[in-house]
Symmetry: C2
Subunit: 465 residues, 2 copies
């Protein structure tokens, strides 16, 4: 079986070719560029690329791939570097292809509910450009201010609103993709459903840059909801908070977001973000979206009533947009607050069937206790996605190794109940060990699909597979 | 490149092996069984299989595949045979694997919104079993009374409610799949989102039995809506009816169904189904679903107001469940009425971006006129899916050939505007010619993926690829 090996180093001749093809301003071997492209948000070992390039067109991307493939030089693909799993870290060196210069919104088609974008466009920026059309691209990852659409496609990213709107994979209609042999293919069709052979678009989404490099994305969009309603609920036990989530779902309500934060995280946010949250064991943030204000209000009232019944000790109903924004700012301050508290947190990303939500939250604390690591639980619990943050005292310490083991056992538990090792952060270098655990024999099929698209394994070698 | 060739005929020895493995009652070479398994709902040439088998477990399926693969005998997989594209027609003979004995609902997990089923279970039957749990599997194909979940998975089927709820591919969480080498793999995880490598589940869904045989499906379910509202609108011009669809979508309304029927189809239904529809150029059937009755009513009222503005000449607002049911019965009588009127209709299944809806409807009539074939247009126009029915005077007649050409030109038009040759009926044998048109160079990648899963091309050879 093929795999990552037999690579060439980048030579002066290669640099000359890159400069002549891309222009000297789009090729750099300066230390500053190598270092800033050596890591993403995963607190692992940095790996320096040998050269950083900034392609400006699909044709440039394709030509670099063809050249690198002939020369057996690894190519890593990077957006904004906000990934949490190290999926753009150039572990075998080679060429780091930074997509941030391909950042245009090429076309909005309001009647079609579609937009065509280059991969380097930033999520929040795209949504600001779509707002005058009354449209948006829903997935809303925590890193929305910085992350790129290309990174979201590579990673099948999602976030706060996936519980209602789904994930990136649900919104990618077609792709322009450069393959290692230098071809530029169009995959998919710009329609909402199709039955025309194998779904290569959805195969590419979530493939973490290992099959091809996306150079253009046609996204499905949604209409911005006319009515919204947000509230927060506080609980004096974890059991009450988690059970309330399932009670809301069982009632048949479909919130646009249903976020969970435990006391550990609430304290970190209060301490580091400047937004002070009240002291309770946990909280939920619940949001409803819809066309009809009356409908949204009825849904929110039903949710409030269910949540009260489940034992909420306090409800916070914001009356102004600013108050709503403050609640969401608190939630979005989660990850920055965690990294201020601990430079090397280990962020779990398991997802389980909803009936196992309480078990996986309890298991998180049990494992934290067993391994003597401070543990906080948060996440998009409305869809089963639990982010357990293990907070060791620095990287490569004994407590860090214990935290890694706790996280591993949590992943094993999640998989044993039909869940997944990663709901939205991806595999990268961080979770490679979990692939065999997750997929068993099917992993070999994935490796063969990889070899089919990329026979010399030049694309993101060492990542995911 | 590999392809369908070099097959062995089924021998007495093979029949003996099949009888000993499956039991003699699950193996037949009787003419009745061969003939009834030689066609689906596509009015093409029948092809007799050499033997029909009815496996009763995943292990039996896997063993038959391993045996057939070693012997190079083609294996075709069949559910209820309601497919419209001939995707289970045994064009190379061999073993016809009829999945109708594997028809159990294995488990319902209400808290998880999941059900585990065998592939032979019928769609409407499954939904009846789910109803006491307040749950349903939404896609609702026109053949819902007879079609199986396995067939829907193979075909990525959808139907009347796809505009709100999506297609089969959106609801398959995990699969148990038998591969030609005799392995039984589990693919996917029983959770609502994941980022754990290549999405093999979505690759299998819609692969029309060419990659593996699905032996168990874990479906995501939805809560039955508490509130529903259905109405019909009649128009005196095609333009008004089609434009109303886009106006409703642009308003930001998300109907659970938005069906279009033109006068040709309305007349056929009135004549053959016993449900008499009024005489207008076209009609829409619109349904809203939701949790809140007030919300559903506000959405329906907004839709009615938009539709009036677009020039509807008549609105029909049913007041009882029976009246609602009568409207839907009229819609579901469409295909049976068409086949009563013409034994060999050619049913188009293109899908286009919403801005091209009116163009593709007009194009249908223009082509009908150009080729002198009676033409009706219907479909799930709310999501862009247009079913043009060409009604020639019998199969293999001159008008049939002209209808085929008209359909081909419509497909070419749909693809030229970013659409697809098939939204939900699949490729089968009917639309094989359109695969190259749709995918260009990407078709070769599909053929290589096929060879990777099924090196000897024993699974459904001649279908799709």
């Amino acid at each position: 079986m093929a795999g990552p090996s037999g690579y060439s180093k980048v030579t002066q001749g290669d640099l000359g070719w890159l400069r002549s093809r891309l222009g000297p301003e789009d090729v750099s071997t300066e230390e500053y560029d190598l270092v800033t492209n050596s890591l993403d948000a995963f607190p692992g070992e940095p790996h320096l690329p040998e050269v950083v390039v900034w392609p400006e067109s699909g044709e440039e991307v394709a030509d670099v791939l063809r050249y690198a493939n002939e020369r057996r030089i690894p190519v890593y693909v990077r957006g904004a570097g906000t990934g949490l799993a190290g999926a753009c870290v150039p572990v075998y060196g080679g060429i780091l292809m930074n997509m941030m210069k391909m950042d245009r919104l090429l076309e909005v088609r309001p009647v079609d509910f579609q937009a065509v974008v280059e991969p380097g466009i930033v999520y929040d920026h795209l949504n600001r450009l779509l707002e005058p059309h009354g449209l948006f691209f829903p997935p809303d990852p925590g890193s929305s201010r910085s992350c790129t659409i290309g990174g979201m496609v590579a990673n099948n990213a999602s976030g706060l609103r996936a519980v209602k709107y789904g994930v990136t994979r649900d919104y990618v209609l077609s792709l322009r993709v450069a393959l290692p042999d230098g071809r530029l293919l169009r995959l998919g069709a710009n329609v909402f459903k199709s039955s025309v052979g194998y779904d290569l678009v959805r195969l590419l989404v979530g493939s973490e840059g290992t099959l091809g490099v996306v150079t253009e994305v046609t996204l499905r969009l949604r209409r911005l909801p006319r009515a919204r309603y947000t509230f927060a609920a506080y609980f004096d036990s974890i059991e009450a908070g988690v059970s309330a989530i399932n009670a809301v779902r069982q009632e048949g309500l479909e919130p646009a977001a249903m976020e969970f934060l435990d006391r550990v995280h609430m304290d970190l946010i209060s301490r580091w973000s400047g937004i002070v949250l009240p002291t309770h064991e946990c909280m939920l943030i619940v949001e409803f979206h819809g066309y009809s204000r009356a409908g949204v209000m009825e849904e929110a009232e039903a949710a409030v009533s269910v949540i009260r019944e489940m034992g909420a000790s306090r409800l916070e109903v914001p009356r102004t947009d600013e108050e709503v924004q403050r609640i969401w700012e608190a939630r979005k301050a989660l990850y920055p607050s965690v990294t201020r508290a601990t430079p090397s947190p280990i962020t779990g990303d398991v997802i389980v069937p909803l009936s196992k939500l309480l078990d996986v939250v309890r298991k998180s604390y049990e494992l934290g206790e067993k391994y003597g690591v401070r543990t906080g639980v948060a996440g998009h619990l409305g869809d089963g996605n639990v982010h357990t943050n293990w907070l060791p005292e620095g990287r490569d310490t004994d407590s860090w190794r214990r935290a890694m083991q706790a996280n591993r056992e949590l992943v094993e538990y999640a998989i044993s109940v039909g869940g997944a090792a990663s709901a939205e952060h991806g595999i990268g270098i961080e979770k490679k060990d979990f692939m065999a655990l997750q997929h068993g024999e099917a992993l070999e099929l994935m490796r063969r699909i990889k070899s089919l698209f990329d026979p010399n394994w030049i694309l993101n070698p060492g990542i995911m597979l």
